[in-house]
Structures are given as C-alpha cells and as structure tokens.
C-alpha cells in the first residue's frame, strides 16, 4: 500500500469513527428526550419542549426538573461509568466475560452502602457525599478477595475461574446482606430490596452532584490511559518489550475501574450486565483501539441504561420495573450468547 492510500484509509477511518460518535450522541439525545416524556404523568411533546425552554407551567417544571431529569441524568452517568469500568476490566484481564457486576464488585459496594444507610440513615447532604467512599471500601474488598481466591500459583488466573469466583463471592455477599437486613422495619427493608434489584434510588440533584465530580476525574483519566490499554492488549510479553511496567499499569487501571463501578453503584443501585454488553457492542462498531473505543463505549452504556430505565418506567405505572432488572433482561441473553459463541 502506498503512503497515500494509508493516509486515505486513516482519514476514512477517522471520519467513520467521528460519525459513529456523533450518531451515539444523537441517539443519547433522542433517548433522553423520549425518557423525559415517559412516565406516569403524561407530558405532551410540546409541553416538554416548552418546559425545557423555560415557558412551562409550575407543575410541569416540577415534574420535569425535580423528578424526571435527575433520574435520567443519573441513569446516563451510571451507564457511562459502568460501561467504562467493564471496558477497562475486560481490557486488562483480556477476559471477554469480565464485568463489575459478575465479579462481585457491585455487591461489595452495595453491602457497604446498605450497611451505612441502615445503621446511620441517609439524612443530609454530607452523608450522601460520603457514600462513594464507603462503596469504594466495599468494592475494593470484594475485588481483592475475588482476585486472591481465583489466583493459583501455577496457573495464574483463568478467565472461567475468575468469573466463577466472582459469582460465588457475589452470592455470599448478597446472602450476608440479606441476613444483616433481616430485622429492619418495612420502609428500610424496601429501600434495601430496591437497591438489590437495581432501582435507581437517588433520584435527585444531590446525588447527581455527588456522582459528577468522581466521573469528571475518572473518565478523563480513563481516556488518558487509552494508549496503555492498547499496549496491554498486545499481550504481556509485547507490552514488556515495548517498555511498559505491565503489572503497575494494570493495577492502576484496575483501581480506576473499581472506583468507577463503586461510585456508580453507590448512587445507582445494583445494575448489572451494562459493563458486559456495552464494551462488546462498542468493539463491534469501532474495533479494539481504546482511544475511540472508550468514548463510544461510554455512550453505548449511557444509551443502554437510559433506554432500560425508560422501558422500566413505561411498562408498569405508576410504579416502575427497577432498572437493574431491565438491564439483566437485556444483558443476560447477551451473556449466554457470549458463552455459546465460538
């Protein structure tokens, strides 16, 4: 191939990726808009537009800005965060089945959040702010124990054993949580079971404010690490030969992935399978280069959770199907497909 042809090919590739990125953004906007219209109290499209433009009635503004929008924004943020976390974990473990939910990270984070919420109660703004930190402790604990339990001296970590260990640890943690919450009053019990089913519980702006700074730091850091992920993808030997401190880099990325999952789960509830599907879909669309894969993956995850949340709200009214259940219904068949494929 001549130099010119390569350049041309590169330009076309860049254009295509740009188009996919724009398409993803467009899809996100559409699902955001549809989601704003979905729910128990009907708003016509015109009403929504008017309200967004600042010319709506007080009730409409209340519904849209105080109830629906925070929930939608949170679902988008969680989707992006969990998808990125899954993408990072899949990248460093080179395991197509890895996902924060399946590895017990979500369950560990959830247990800390539940314990905190139940022992002290979430009352004021500062206590909401501490949620992600606590979730981080639980998530890190779960991740470390899964890693240690799956590790064998001679064989290292096989991908199947990693997932099996994750599933088992997750089962243990949720059993423990069930026992801990047993003598709660009904209200607290329903909060906890809502969390376990992946009900987006923190549906107000305070939770958005809690989550946002974390993502603002972590997501750019992910993108900054895209090159390292690409190199790691070539295999440990090649990465070492290229002069990369493999284990150190991998540890850094793993910490970021756990942090992402923990902070998302702490406000969003137990939402699984997003971290599994979104990276796979994104890889299908743009290939394995992380510089473009990571943003597309985040967009895919955001759209997925937004759609799942909207569907959950549309299917039954006035209550809703928890988002976590919806993502599991969409995601489990994909997991099965991944098991069957090849």
């Amino acid at each position: 191939m001549t130099r010119e042809a390569i350049l041309k090919y590169k330009r076309r590739l860049a254009l295509r990726n740009l188009l996919i990125l724009m398409g993803g953004l467009f899809l996100l906007l559409v699902s955001l808009f549809v989601s704003m219209n979905a729910g128990y109290s009907k708003l016509s499209i015109l009403d929504t537009l008017n309200t967004v433009a600042g010319k709506g009635t007080a009730t409409h503004e209340l519904i849209l800005f105080q109830y629906r929008l925070p929930r939608i924004v949170i679902s988008i943020l969680i989707g992006a965060g969990l998808a990125l976390s899954g993408c990072l974990i899949q990248g460093i473990s080179r395991n197509p089945l890895a996902e924060p939910g399946l590895l017990g990270i979500n369950a560990g984070a959830g247990m800390m959040v539940i314990l905190y919420a139940l022992l002290l109660g979430i009352t004021n703004f500062s206590s909401i702010f501490t949620l992600p930190f606590l979730a981080l402790i639980g998530a890190a604990g779960a991740a470390i124990s899964v890693y240690l339990l799956a590790y064998k001296k001679q064989e290292g970590i096989s991908s199947e054993r990693l997932i099996l260990t994750g599933i088992a640890v997750q089962a243990g943690i949720s059993a423990l949580t069930t026992i801990l919450i047993v003598n709660l009053d009904d209200m607290r019990f329903s909060i906890v079971s809502g969390w376990q089913a992946g009900q987006i519980w923190g549906a107000n702006w305070q939770y958005v404010l809690t989550l946002l700074p974390w993502l603002c730091v972590l997501i750019p850091y992910c993108l900054y690490k895209a090159k390292s992920l690409d190199v790691l993808n070539l295999g440990d030997e090649v990465a070492l030969a290229l002069g990369m401190p493999v284990e150190k880099e991998r540890r850094k990325i793993l910490i970021v992935a756990v942090m992402l999952a923990a902070c998302c789960v702490s406000v969003g509830g137990n939402i699984s399978f997003v971290g599994l599907i979104a990276p796979h879909l994104a890889r299908r669309m743009v290939g394995p280069k992380h510089q473009i894969l990571l943003p597309v993956c985040a967009l895919t995850g955001a759209v997925l959770v937004c759609i799942a949340d909207t569907l959950g709200r549309m299917l039954i009214q006035p209550s809703s199907i928890p988002t976590g259940i919806m993502t599991a219904i969409i995601g489990a068949p994909y997991f099965i497909y991944l098991l069957v494929r090849r």
Binding site: R161, A168, A332, I336
Partner: protein
C-alpha cells in the same frame, strides 16, 4: 492380587458399615433435632407440652395448637425438602460426573421460580397440586436451557462451563420472574409462597409433597446402582451393559421432581445439593447405593438445623433459610471450584 482384593473387600465392608451407622445415627439425631426444633421458636414450649400435644392433644391449649399446626408441619417439610435437594444434587453429580452440579447452580431452581411467577401472573386460580406440576415444568425448562447452552459449544459440558451457563440462565430467569412479578403485581404472593421458606408450610402442603418426594427418593435409591455405573463414565457404563439413555431420562425426571417440589415449598435454596453429596462421598466412598440414602439423611439434618437457626438466631424476625445455607455453601463452592481444572481458552 489376592491381598489387594481382600483390602478392597475390607474397604467396601467398612463403607457399608459406615453408611449403616450414619443412616441409623443420622435418623436418631434427626428425630431428636426435630423434637428440639418443635420446642424452640418465638414462644418456647417445654418438651413435655410438645409431647402432650402429640399424644394427648387438647384443642383448647394454644401451645398444643402451635406445636401441631405450625411447628410440626414446618419441621417435617424442612426435613423432606432437605432430603430432596441433597438427593437431587447427588443424582446430578453422579450421572453428569460434574462435581459442581447442584439444582441451584444448574438453573433448576431459577426455572421453577420463573414457572411460579408465570403461574401466579397468568393462571392465578390454580390449585396447589397444579402449581407444583408447573414448578416441575419450570425446573425442567431451566435444566434443558442450561444443558443446551453448555453443549452448544464443543467440549461444553465441562463442570465450569456448566456452572457459568447455569449462572447466565439463572440471571435471565430470575430477572424475568422479578419483572413479571412486578408487572402483574403478584410479587407479594410469590414472596409469601417462597421467601418465607418453610414458615408457611401447612399440613395440606405436607400431604401433597410427601408422596412426590418419598416416591422420587425411592426411585433414586432403586436407580442408585445404575447411577454408580454412570459415575464411572459413559463408555464404562455402556461396556457394563447399562442403558444410558434410559438411565439419563429416568434420573432427569427424578431430579426435576425433587428440585421442582422443593422450590415450590421453600423457594430457591441452593448449595444443599452441592455440599451434602461431597461430604457423603468423603464418608462412605463412591458407591451411590450408599451415597443416595446417606445424602438424604444428612440433607434433612442440614435443612432442619438451618431452619432452627433461622428461627432462633434473631427472634421474632426470621432469617431466610436460603441465605443462611448460602453463607456456608459459598466457601465450599469456592474450594471445589478452585480445584477444578479450567478449560484453557474462552
């Protein structure tokens, strides 16, 4: 050669002796534990009163009523379910030669739970017996789905792959049943039916489940020689003249009946079918003629003990039995999974 045969003979004799002792002692302990379990609970009842309730029943006495109408059916139900789950696990492990087989891990429990949700949502006026039959269908559905997902890939029935497939199918079926339950507003009914564990067991339930479980247990014992053959490997079994298809079909029916009925009574309680057969095998060796009955006794013991713990650890609240057993089962599972050789690539 002769000496070796003699040692084998002795080992065999030892194992049968061990099994005999285990069954007798186990049954003795089981009866004692059940009696103790009847006296404990939110209101403690003296052993004497419990004894009187059984033999000189006085309908005016509220303690007698508690013993006879609440605690006794519950204890009997947990003993039966424990035996059923343990034997289901033993049969699955023997026939499929998969040490990680368990009705919970292989999707049977989730399938039965899904069937339960469907029947509550769409056919709310079914009788108890019909609901149980639907649970059988659900358990069979779960098992078939897991088997087909695992075997769609070459070399797919390796233990680890089976468990992964089971986890995937269970996740799907559980999410679907939760969704259905919420959509049709029947989650309360299902909760009442399952999550309460054996707490809601009544004499009517016991009367219906007993013949099923005892019948399936008898069939399992009758088939135990064939299960031993299967546990040697399909080729060996074939060479020894076993009808593999027949055995597989027969054992599948046994397992589906046992798992389905257990779920219909206590909900998704996992890990009994995993733990008990392993302990039993450790105690009495690899002969399924011994493993099946001993598993039944030990399974009953575990379930009755867990139910007792669930009721008395934190009164008046009850800890879900499934969670209590999962806490002991998870480390066991991790230990077993660690010793599995994993298939190389994924």
């Amino acid at each position: 050669m002769k000496q070796r045969q003699e040692t084998l003979q002795i080992a065999k004799w030892n194992h049968s002796w061990m099994a005999f002792v285990l069954i007798l002692a186990g049954l003795g302990v089981l009866v004692a534990l059940m009696a103790f379990s009847i006296t404990r609970g939110v209101s403690d009842i003296s052993a004497l009163t419990a004894f009187e309730a059984l033999f000189r029943f006085d309908p005016q006495n509220s303690h007698h009523l508690i013993v006879l109408d609440l605690r006794l059916p519950r204890v009997i139900a947990s003993a039966l379910v424990g035996a059923a789950l343990a034997v289901a696990g033993a049969v699955m492990q023997g026939v499929t030669r998969n040490p990680l087989a368990d009705s919970g891990l292989m999707g049977l429990n989730a399938g039965a739970g899904f069937a339960l949700a469907v029947s509550f949502a769409f056919f709310p006026s079914l009788s108890y017996l019909q609901t149980i039959l639907i649970c059988f269908a659900g358990a069979a559905l779960g098992a078939v789905m897991v088997m087909s997902v695992a075997s769609l890939r070459r070399g797919g029935t390796a233990p680890m792959r089976m468990v992964l497939a089971g986890a995937a199918i269970s996740a799907l079926l559980t999410a679907l049943s939760q969704g259905i339950a919420l959509c049709f507003d029947v989650s309360q009914d299902i909760m009442f039916w399952t999550v309460g564990g054996v707490s809601a067991a009544s004499w009517d339930q016991v009367a219906i489940m007993t013949p099923f479980i005892l019948g399936a247990l008898a069939c399992a014992i009758a088939a135990s020689r064939q299960i031993s053959l299967m546990s040697l490997g399909e080729e060996v079994a074939k060479g020894l003249g076993a009808n593999i298809k027949l055995i597989n079909a027969f054992c599948s029916v046994i397992v589906v009946v046992l798992a389905g009925i257990s779920v219909s009574v206590v909900g998704a309680v996992g890990f009994i079918g995993l733990i008990i057969p392993h302990i039993t095998r450790f105690l009495v060796g690899v002969d399924y003629r011994l493993i099946v009955p001993v598993s039944a006794v030990l399974g009953s013991l575990l379930m009755v003990a867990a139910d007792l713990g669930a009721r008395t650890m934190n009164p008046p609240a009850e800890i879900p039995v499934g969670a209590l057993i999962a806490i002991t089962g998870v480390p066991f599972f991790l230990y077993l999974a660690r010793n599995q050789r994993s298939s190389k690539s994924l």
